[in-house]
């Protein structure tokens, strides 16, 4: 009788400590090894190049898709309105480099026109987001 009673209690409350241990480990792995995605668009394929140095990547809000469609703060807008939209943006930190997310298959001329429109709003430090390639291991 006593044995049965004990067994019943054990079955009701399984020991969750090991489960928590594993889940915590996986959580810490993702926090440490992963980087939060700096932009929000699944269609974008970034250009790749070899580089050793790393820099802090800030979240970017200007996205140019493969077909030249321009999205700023999740809103599609024509190129001639971009300078005005950047000028009107109060939250934009002008002391930091401005990063454009452009698809690798986009025509370079379109990217240059976008860059000129960004610079017309007074932002002088303009960069394009790329994907780093490692010579030894290839793309991770």
């Amino acid at each position: 009788m006593r044995l049965r009673h004990n067994q019943q209690i054990k079955k009701k409350q399984p020991d969750l400590t090991s489960l928590i241990n594993v889940v915590f480990l996986i959580l810490i792995f993702f926090i440490v090894a992963g980087v939060l995605r700096p932009f929000n668009d699944d269609t974008i394929e970034l250009a790749q190049h070899f580089e050793d140095q790393t820099g802090a990547i800030v979240a970017s809000r200007l996205i140019v898709r493969q077909d030249g469609i321009l999205r700023y703060r999740n809103k599609t807008l024509p190129l001639d309105q971009l300078t005005g939209a950047l000028n009107a943006d109060q939250d934009l930190d002008r002391s930091k480099p401005f990063i454009i997310v452009a698809d690798a298959r986009l025509m370079a001329g379109v990217l240059l026109s976008v860059t000129r429109a960004v610079r017309a709003s007074g932002l002088s430090d303009v960069s394009i987001l790329t994907q780093r390639q490692q010579a030894s291991r290839g793309q991770l």
Binding site: Q13, L16, T17, L19, I20, V23, F24, I26, L27, F30, I31, A33, G34, V35, L36, R37, P38, L46, A47, Q48, H49, F50, E51, Q53, T54, G55, I57, P97, I99, I100, A102, D103, A104, R105, L106, M107, A108, G109, L111, L112, T115, R116, R119, D125, V126, S127, I128, L129, T130, Q131, R132, Q134, L140
Partner: protein
């Protein structure tokens, strides 16, 4: 007697809410994080005010389709590119003007720019 029962109840701490929260965090980080290594390439377009740059220091580099690079109008193969760029630097041509051809895409531009910058030009300007 009753008091004692309450004490024994306290000892069995419920871990369910903790696991709930940890699972939520785990799912968030799994979905939001990426393992791509990001970098940036600076793009400086030619603008007004650069007309007084020393013309003898200018090197003209064209970027075309499929990562083709032309130095002074001559197509350079991949393995000769870094040598060609170093020769330009040795000749005192430290300001690179990168001309992007119409058919080149962003991928061509980025790989070309990265190589030109790695060669050690003091200024790299992009025109189309």
């Amino acid at each position: 007697m009753r008091l004692k029962f309450q004490i024994s109840r306290r000892q069995a701490l419920s871990l369910t809410p903790l696991i709930d929260v940890v699972f939520l965090l785990l799912v968030f980080f799994m979905l939001a994080s990426t393992f791509v290594r990001f970098s940036t390439v600076k793009i400086e377009t030619a603008g007004a005010g650069n007309s007084q740059a020393d013309r003898t220091k200018l090197a003209l580099i064209h970027i075309g389709k499929d990562r083709a690079v032309l130095i002074n109008g001559l197509q350079v193969s991949d393995d000769q590119l870094s040598a060609g760029l170093e020769k330009l630097i040795a000749d005192g041509k430290t300001n690179a003007v990168v001309v992007v051809r119409k058919e080149a895409n962003v991928s061509d531009l980025v790989s070309g720019l990265a190589q030109v910058r790695a060669a050690g030009f003091t200024s790299v300007r992009v025109v189309d």
